[in-house]
């Protein structure tokens, strides 16, 4: 196993594992928002806006993993081609 192979493998592992947590978190958040919408349809605007901001916060974790994966694949400092 050389550096390239390890980089590619770890990029896959990084985004794969890193997507699990935000996936579960976003599911819980959307479920909560749906619940709130069903109870109070008149608060749609506030709930939607807060949901979007919260989803963006949660999604940031997955985006961090994605950036790490992309860096490993395309801008790896340890690979000298």
């Amino acid at each position: 196993m050389n550096v390239e192979m390890i980089s590619i493998l770890s990029a896959g592992i990084a985004i794969g594992l890193g997507a699990i947590g935000p996936g579960i978190g976003e599911g819980i958040a959307v479920a909560g928002a749906m619940d709130a919408l069903a109870r109070q349809p008149e608060a749609t605007g506030t709930i939607t806006r807060t949901l979007f901001v919260g989803l963006a916060m949660i999604e940031t974790m997955a985006i961090y993993c994605l950036v790490i994966a992309l860096l490993l694949l395309f801008a790896n400092p340890y690979v000298h081609a």
């Binding site: 605007g45 979007f52 963006a56 940031t60 985006i63 395309f74």
Partner: protein
């Protein structure tokens, strides 16, 4: 090697003296010129009694941004509308620019979003100090107790970093997804993903704007500190 790193490093178009001008900087200049031109053209003949079609569109945009600021910050939008509105319009135009063939969105690179994040970062502190005074503003970092000082400082830095990475990461990853799908199947199949990229671009611009408004409002004390 140049081919390999082209995802992160922009291709150089030309040089002004010793300064290399990348493709994204050029795109940024064109977008700036377009936005200024549209605003100048639209506000050239404003009329209260007989507004033209273009004026109505511009008024809708300004009204939307004003409502957004009023809802999120709980303050009158006059002070913040120029900054927040410009951020939103610029990011929306950048995010939608790849719909034109051959254009790479400037917001897909970390330099652009880093600059935008730095603008928000500086504005937060300047407005916070101006509103509460230096001592009063620094005291907010000691809330609720002194032990929270490192956490507050760290939170201040990481949230700006997250603001930058979120926008660039989302746009860049979507560009990459479309590139991969085009490489795999080519005709017609990428079109739904391109349509999705419109939604992603609008939502990300909205989120960046709302978060900027929340940060500024938090520093000024018009809303609870986020």
């Amino acid at each position: 090697m140049a081919e390999k790193t082209s995802l992160i490093n922009a291709p150089i178009v030309f040089h002004i003296g010793p300064v290399p001008i990348g493709l994204e900087v050029l795109t940024t200049w064109v977008i700036m010129a377009v936005l200024v031109g549209v605003a100048w053209y639209g506000s050239r003949r404003l009329s209260v009694t007989r507004p033209g079609r273009f004026q109505v569109v511009l008024e809708m945009a300004v009204g939307f941004l004003g409502d957004l600021i009023r809802d999120v910050m709980g303050a009158e939008p006059d002070t913040f509308l120029p900054l927040i509105g410009t951020l939103f319009l610029y990011i929306v135009t950048c995010n939608l620019s790849p719909l034109l063939p051959g254009v790479k969105p400037p917001t897909a690179s970390f330099e652009t979003t880093g600059a935008l994040g730095l603008i928000v970062f500086c504005t937060v502190h300047i407005l916070g100090v101006r509103r509460r005074g230096l001592v009063g503003y620094l005291r907010t970092y000691l809330q609720p107790t002194v032990i929270f000082l490192p956490l507050n400082v760290l939170g201040e830095l990481t949230r700006t970093f997250a603001l930058m990475v979120r926008l660039a990461g989302n746009i860049m990853s979507h560009e990459l997804t479309i590139a991969v799908i085009i490489g795999l199947v080519g005709l017609l199949v990428p079109i739904p993903f391109m349509a999705l990229s419109i939604l992603v671009g609008l939502v990300q611009a909205y989120i960046f704007t709302i978060l900027a408004a929340v940060f500024i409002g938090g520093a000024m004390g018009t809303i609870e500190k986020a």
